[in-house]
């Protein structure tokens, strides 16, 4: 691809998703400076491998690069990124939020940020992609490189944990 055309195409298909890239990196790293560095690195990587985009959705493609960049960095930092058990096998242990759940009030909403940030990485990433980026299960499964079923079970468990955290914050 002609280099000037590549730049123009990149500008058109990838650059508009800078906010999504930063939002995901910020939620994964929980740190503004790291997020900024990693987003820059991710864009560089994305530009180098721009040929692999091949008509996919620019945002999902870019987020996959951002996610990989962040995970590589987190692993290097020693953060646990792997799930040590198969959620699909254990997903049955998750219950739907109880009917007796404490009524959410403003205080609970205030703890939302902390509770989301406190979620283990594997739940946090699917929650952010699903709720804040509103990506489809299929897109999330491609970005996270796990089966759709795993995405769904992680989402369910993430929601359950978030709920517990919010209720705990109110006690």
């Amino acid at each position: 691809m002609d280099s000037e055309r590549k730049q123009a195409l990149f500008e058109q298909t990838v650059m508009p998703h800078l906010n999504a890239a930063y939002n995901l990196a910020r939620w994964l790293t929980r740190n503004a400076d790291d997020a900024e560095d990693l987003v820059q690195e991710a864009f560089l990587r994305a530009f180098r491998s721009f040929e692999t985009l091949q008509g996919q959705d620019g945002r999902a493609w870019l987020l996959a690069v951002v996610r990989n960049t962040c995970f590589t960095w987190l692993k290097k930092k020693g953060e646990r990124t792997a799930v040590e058990f198969d959620e699909q096998m254990h997903s049955g242990t998750d219950e739907a939020p109880s009917a007796e759940a404490v009524l959410l009030n403003e205080a609970a909403l205030g703890s939302l940020q902390g509770c989301l940030e406190g979620l283990p990485l594997e739940f946090r990433e699917v929650m952010i992609m699903r709720e804040l980026e509103e990506l489809s299960y299929k897109e999330i499964s491609e970005i996270s490189r796990v089966p759709i079923g795993t995405v769904m079970s992680r989402l369910a468990r993430g929601r359950k944990r978030l709920q517990q955290c919010l209720e705990g914050a109110l006690r």
Binding site: S3, L18, Y22, R26, A32, L104, L112, R130
Partner: protein, 219 residues
Amino acid sequence: MNCEIARAMMANNDPGLAEHLRSCQSCMIRTHARYYEAPAGLEEKIRLRLRKEAPAALPWRWMAIAASVLLVASLTWNLSMLRSRVDPEQALASDVVSAHIRSLAGTHLLDVPSSDHHTVKPWFNGKLDFSPAVKDVDGFPMLGGRLEYLEGHPAAALVYSRRNHTINVFTWPSAPGKGVEETQNGYHAESWYSDGMAFWAVTDLNEEELRQFVALYRK
């Protein structure tokens, strides 16, 4: 799911919002969790890095610009050199005037003091590989001659006088060129070419009398 109800309740400060969000965690996150927008300046930083990353995009355009700049610089340089390059006739005039001044400043004005061109002309035989045209010039008595070295080869200097002024005529074999009149440091010089020889007459006389001398000499 776009959480229209939740957003509408938020906009209206509806007290039922919390209750609604309890039933819809997605809406709670979408309306209350922070969406981090990229900090100002990040986009520019990225563009800057990408520009460095893609030097291949630039070479032809930049090389063309660089080439143009070099071309203009080189043309300017050459033009200025051409303009400042000393005109060879002018450089020669400087040499000739210097030789004239030297001849007057030192004690070496004459190798052969003689007012007779029949004495002066043969004196050069064996000292030069050419025979200078030595002439008597009416009103400008000859004082004699001497050997000079000009333009990288030997030259004959013939010395004439007018009142208390001295005229040096330098001559040596040369391809024909254009004759010039020069004035340097108050000395006047006039050159001409004749019979395969270059002639330079230099003096502190006024230009009018120099021209008169040259005209008589060339007769």
